[in-house]
Symmetry: none
Subunit: 180 residues, 2 copies
RNA sequence: UGACACCAUUUUUU
DNA sequence: AAAAAATGGTGTCA
């Protein structure tokens, strides 16, 4: 079965303030080909943008007979699936551990359904703020990354992930460009 | 009769974990003079620290011919006296509403005896996490505070309470400083 | 069931 | 340095 790798990121300038603008971006890599998506909206949150990036990326795929690898720096997104938060939510009427209603329920339901529709989906947590500005020090950055990250990448994988994570971040910012 | 105002707070980094460190702090105001106390210990709980802050503050007073006002953000501490939990405990052999033994009995007994020894003691519940970082927006914070708090303060009182509550929090953190 | 604290984690920002 | 968006938990009581 073919594998798709999805690198996504979200941003929200003025998160928590009354007026704000958010953006999201995703890079999909399939069979050596690269697809870029991005978008944005006003009056949102950082977490909504992180969620939206994954949802829009999955929605853009034309077939579900795929193994999907999703890379995100959002514990909010990744842990929901890696730690099975969503199963508890479905069983207890969408209450979080503080007994309050789970936020962004509609987006979560959309994402859960999307994920279930694919042959296989795996979520990978990566660190935010990867730095590719010092290519000469790439080895240093690589060690630092592996020391701080659950995932352990080879040098080649690290460069790929960093590059695409960076690109996803740029796309997220592009998503709110008209407002910025 | 002279009045003493006591502002206290407790903290416990890693509360509920196997290894943790707690701290407590108290600010006493008497006759325009200010006294600061703090301390800390390992392997404790947030509630023990909240209790200890009040106990140590009262123990530090040299006379009991005083009216004492105690400000705390802990419902655990304040409601025991405002709602008279302690009287039920004394009558029913120190069982809580689930018929289980009341926790921290020794500390409670110490506190109850201390309180009884003073001419008059009143407990006031205040909200945690007061914010004094935006003095320009003090009016906004003041409204927000009074909207969310049982107590209603004048603006001047609010500033005093916020300041001392903040200070007590800093002292509590100072109490666990050597470990931090 | 409710309430108040105390934390842990990752982002997003100012 | 400090706040918001979100999740997970314990300490305690009624």
């Amino acid at each position: 079965m073919k594998t798709v790798e999805i690198f996504c990121d979200g941003a929200c300038s003025g998160n928590g303030k009354e007026t704000n603008v958010g953006g999201w971006g995703a890079v999909l890599v399939y069979n050596g080909q690269k697809k870029e998506l991005f978008g944005g909206e006003a009056s949102t949150t950082n977490n909504i943008m992180e969620l939206t990036a994954v949802i829009e990326a999955l929605k853009s795929l034309k077939t579900t007979s795929l193994e999907v690898h999703i890379f995100s720096d959002s514990a909010y997104v990744v842990n929901c699936f890696r730690e099975g938060w969503y199963r508890k939510w479905q069983l207890n009427g969408w209450r979080n551990s503080k007994k309050e209603p789970v936020e962004n329920k509609l987006l979560w339901e959309t994402l859960i359904n999307l994920v279930a529709s694919f042959a296989k989906v795996e979520f990978y947590k990566i660190k935010g703020h990867l730095n590719l500005d010092a290519p000469a020090d790439i080895q240093k950055w690589y060690k630092k990354f592996n020391a701080n990250n659950d995932l352990q990448f080879s040098l080649e994988e690290f460069i790929v992930v960093s590059t695409y994570n960076h690109l996803a971040d740029e796309l997220a910012n592009k998503g709110m460009a008209p407002y910025k």
